[in-house]
Amino acid sequence: MSFLIGENMTGGYGGADILHDCTIAADQGEIAVIVGPNGAGKSTAMKAVFGMLNIHTGRVMLDGEDITALTPQARVAKGMAFVPQTSNVFPTMSVEENLEMGAFLRRDNIQETIDQVYELFPILGDKRRQNAGELSGGQRQQVAVGRALMTQPKVLMLDEPTAGVSPIVMDELFDRIIEVARTGISILMVEQNARQALDIADKGYVLVQGRNRYTDTGQALMNNPDVRKSFLGG
């Protein structure tokens, strides 16, 4: 059993089900990447794992504990962190305050972590006093990831963290993710920059219409011609 697993999840936003018997999981120190066409239900699956959506069948387990019934805040307290795909910053708060909010539940000194984030994304250090709402799209994305890193989580969930960031920052980001994973943290990530992502992934999921279509190691999926053609852009 994996450290984090959303098992056989079925559910949606109140209308028709979006997810059908969908399973995603990540083990400690492991990077799991979800790919799939737009509207496949990737973000929905992430939200389901984070408890922001009702699933009527299936369950979510963290470290052997069933957390299906917990609220999102409670999951944060259990060491999960999530970067949503859209509206993922506090627009009228400064960059630094955004980061502080990421560490809201932490009681220790957070300055060190803040400095680490600034090191990772130097532009944020320059703009620490600026409101996040005034940042460029890519800068915002960096704030969002930075905010999640502030939690010092056990599980880090990222919904398209590289959307809109420049190649150099994307590389930095993936580098950092690998580092983070190496410290034993589970990473669950949705990506459309799929090839780069699968390249560093231990495990990959291809989701189509709310169902698991392929599940394999990152490399295996990359080498699967069907997957390449239909989902990775050839």
């Binding site: 460029s136 960031v165 150099i168 993936f174």
Partner: protein, 259 residues
């Protein structure tokens, strides 16, 4: 077609665009790249009339369009998409598309009240067109869904779809590719090429996916710190040291260690 001359835009004490000068040739697909915060989106916003420039001019086909409002520019054939999708979230996908064309008779109150037949005929036409676009973008199954309920990528597609509803002269695309599935992005790339070749649209697109840029764009302009850093073909740009240092980078460092 578009001539941007020494354009600048200041926010508070900070110059987001700082003396940018560039040309977009008629019939080209010009790529615009640059690090996050280089001022690309701001440049678009100034050209498209969302922000008034602090200095400099913008010309469209020899006409000074500096500071004109977005809706005026729309009628001059200048369209743009938004980096952060700006769909009409309480309207259906189809309505989002049908509202785009300008000069609809039904948008004039008098005709809406007293010329129902005219309006009805026009609506049929619009609907057909909208359905074609929907089909093309592979979002038929959500055609009657509220746009606010679309997935992130679908919203991006809708954003692009709106520019396809009218005959534009020049279209500014702000990261249409971000968050779009790569397979679909290829299809979109084909569409852009087709619009460019068959209908003569000029494109200027911001993108961070170098493959996508490489496939479509010539020339490519790289911005940094509010000004143009380099311009050239994709290969020239890829080889430019400044661009590599500021933007492209040299790949993953940790990958090997990990394996």
């Amino acid at each position: 077609m578009i001539k941007v001359d020494n354009l600048s835009k200041r926010f508070g004490g900070f110059y987001a665009v700082n003396g940018a000068t560039l040309n977009i040739a008629t019939g080209s697909i010009t790529g615009l790249i640059g690090p996050n915060g280089a001022g690309k989106t701001t440049l678009f916003n100034v050209i498209a009339g969302v922000h008034a420039p602090t200095g400099g001019t913008v010309m469209l086909d020899g006409e000074d369009i500096t500071g004109l409002s977005p809706h005026t520019l729309f009628h001059k054939g200048l369209l743009r998409t938004f980096q952060i999708a700006h769909e009409f979230s309480t309207m259906t996908v189809r309505e989002n598309l049908m509202m785009v064309p300008g000069d609809q008779a039904g948008e004039r109150l008098w005709d809406a009240w007293f010329k129902p037949n005219l309006v009805r005929a026009e609506e049929l036409e619009l609907r057909k067109k909208a359905d074609e676009v929907i089909e093309f973008l592979e979002i038929s199954h959500v055609a009657d869904e509220l746009a606010g309920n679309l997935s992130g990528g679908q919203k991006k597609l809708l954003e692009l779809g709106r520019t396809m509803m009218v005959d534009a002269k020049i279209v500014f695309l702000d990261e249409v590719g971000a968050g779009v599935n790569r397979t679909l992005l290829n299809t979109i790339g084909d569409a852009i090429l087709r619009l460019n070749q068959e209908r003569g649209y000029t494109f200027c697109m911001i993108e961070h996916d170098m493959n996508f840029i490489g496939r479509l764009c010539d020339p490519v302009i790289c911005m940094a710190e509010g000004a143009v850093l380099a311009e050239g073909t994709i290969d020239e740009i890829k080889a430019n040291e400044h661009v590599i240092e500021a933007y492209l980078g040299t790949g993953l460092k940790n990958k090997e260690a990990k394996a």
